[in-house]
Symmetry: C2
Subunit: 133 residues, 2 copies
């Protein structure tokens, strides 16, 4: 079975190449702009500024054929499912972000680590009681 | 652009139909078993029992054509991106789970709310400093 995703928008970010991307978006205060395609804009109703959201995006420049990687700062290979490396069979990026501004279809956020031009897949509200330990 | 996902496993869960599924997996102590397909099993190396993981799965029985829904317990429609409803253009389910047991390719977890037979997309380790507020 193959599953087809349709991008719902695109991400405009300060990270143009992988080498300049923060190890995790949470460690940077740079902002990115999420641009929702017009046909999906109705789905934004109810988003609230200064709230936190889960962003799922497509890591379109990540390898998909490796099952083991050497994690950042380590020397031995580990299975990709025990790491946060973008390398994995389905490179779906996951970031918890803070929504700073909404201007029409443009959402300004911080903590996102996506490369510039990454396709957006989904936005979900973060619920502390569900999504934290 | 279309994006193709490949299921990396399947979820065996006590929830056979949507009506009997908990509103959120976190509110149930029932366990589910994640079965990783053999070809992806090498990616499991390094998973640790009693640790927490992010599970991404495909909500294969969810509608994809609606952009507004009435959230559980509410009376007015909201944009899907401000809700946790499975209805959305790319119905990727997201659950934080606790890993209880590993037996070969079988992972026993709690807090997962997936319907029985849902395709598994990804497993990522939960990092409290990145993934919490």
């Amino acid at each position: 079975m193959d599953i087809n995703l349709k991008p719902i928008g695109t991400i405009s970010s300060p990270y143009k190449v992988r080498e300049n991307t923060p190890r995790q978006g949470r460690y940077s205060d740079k902002t990115s702009i999420i641009i929702i395609f017009d046909e999906f804009a109705d789905g934004l109703e109810g988003l609230v500024i200064n709230q936190h959201y889960i962003i799922l995006y497509w890591q379109d420049r990540a390898e998909r054929d490796e099952l083991k990687v050497i994690p950042h700062g380590k020397t031995e290979k580990k299975g990709v499912f025990s790491t946060r490396a973008p390398v994995r069979p389905n490179p779906i990026g996951f970031c918890l972000v803070e929504l700073l501004m909404i201007e029409g279809n443009h959402l300004t956020v911080r903590w996102l680590d996506a490369l510039d031009g990454s396709p957006l897949l989904d936005i979900k509200p973060f619920w502390k009681e569900l999504d934290s330990i």
